[in-house]
Symmetry: C2
Subunit: 263 residues, 2 copies
Amino acid sequence: MLTISQLATYAGVTVRAVRHYHHVGLLPEPARTASGYRTYDATAVIRLIQIRTLADAGVPLGRVQELLYAGPEEFAAGVRQIDADLRAEIRRLQENRRRIAALAAGDSLALPASVVGYLGRLRSLGVDGRYVALERGAWIMIAAQAPDVVDASIAKKHAELDDPDMVALYRFLSEAVQWSGDDPRIVDIAILLERLMIRAVEAGEADADGLDDPIVDLLDAMTVESSPVGRRLIEILQSRGWKGWTRIERVPVHAQEVGERTG
Amino acid sequence: MLTISQLATYAGVTVRAVRHYHHVGLLPEPARTASGYRTYDATAVIRLIQIRTLADAGVPLGRVQELLYAGPEEFAAGVRQIDADLRAEIRRLQENRRRIAALAAGDSLALPASVVGYLGRLRSLGVDGRYVALERGAWIMIAAQAPDVVDASIAKKHAELDDPDMVALYRFLSEAVQWSGDDPRIVDIAILLERLMIRAVEAGEADADGLDDPIVDLLDAMTVESSPVGRRLIEILQSRGWKGWTRIERVPVHAQEVGERTG
DNA sequence: TTGCTCCTCACGTCACGTGAGGTGGC
DNA sequence: TTGCTCCTCACGTCACGTGAGGTGGC
């Protein structure tokens, strides 16, 4: 007769594992000595070895139970199923490796390479880090919501940066991050921005940005809260007939008359 | 501002997952409405998308936390580590597939093909299923304890079966399973077995069976309990100067004189 | 008033690991 | 008498799923 640790040793498992198999009914509880020790015979060793053979092959314990009592055909069918599960799991992990590799390649989390390149260009133009962070957030959401429009949008952004006025705007905005909310120069920024917007509208460049309305509102809110300048700038633009920031739009005349109504 | 389900939808996760991330501190708890509803802004969406990007790539949440705050070098190092973990896991699963395939090939659990073949030969000789089951148990333990001696032992067993006397013995034993414990023919079995044993001893065929003593005792106990014939047969052999069953040995004369002492 | 969403516990999953606290066996 | 093994709870792991029971919002 064997003690639990002798049994465990013969089958190459831990004592706790043996108790666990009793608990879940995989291995029947054996007789006990007067002092409560479990005593095992050869059938327990054999059963435990069979259990471990299946479990070591990656069979979940619930299925081990079934397979131990299965006839040859059910057994073969069970084995085929388990092999299919293993194949699926391996494919899943290989897919994970591909994603991990993509993360390592783009230096920034949840952003495709094209966006990373664009943000790099902004930085190299001297745009302030806080402003770049705002842009980055917007692109993370675009990439999550409409991944297929990202590259086209980025290409358009690059084209815009070929315009010296646009570069000037970004430099301006970048300095502005540290201004106070009542700095008179904010009006100059709004005027410059308005000029660029009108030019874009006349060139027919109304771009679908891949964001839905609530997200646009959220990003605007983020801009407003990022600095007093953001809030003031959006107010000034609003007074001049423009709405929003993340997606700037001309407010139609009749809507403009409704004025400061809140939604 | 977003509700929790809107946030979850934007990031493609469940509401419960968002609450879980709050619970473990991955995502900061946001402000609440008067009625206790959580309200989220754009930064929460961005953070949640980043969390999912890493988690979808198989990064454990504990590491996600670290990576979100890591600099570029730590990030790269973390990604390398995770990729190594994934590779190791894939190798493990592929090893599992090999084992599963081995199980499917041998039709019997925890037994190499050679043993399966030998047991098949016993059955084809008309040996009773219960007796084959006893043999099978012994081989499962041998295969677990000393896998490298199995094939050699099986080869020797096959050679033994080429002896017509040995085949006769197995047939005899096979019938005996249903006898009562006081059947006089049990003595005939013992005499036949003794003849074969003496022949084997004289031929110098003392075989190392790959089992250790406690296991041999267990298997003997299993034999004794399998039928009244088993118990009686071992008693008769013992009275004629032999010990055990799974591993039959001649008892030295002086030990024999000590007689019925129990250990 | 009726669904719908939200809230907070809290147990369940999977296969044990890891103490805690106590007792028999050599 | 001193370790060593055994015993039974019972919580912890991992990333949530899944009710239970209750309440605000349209």
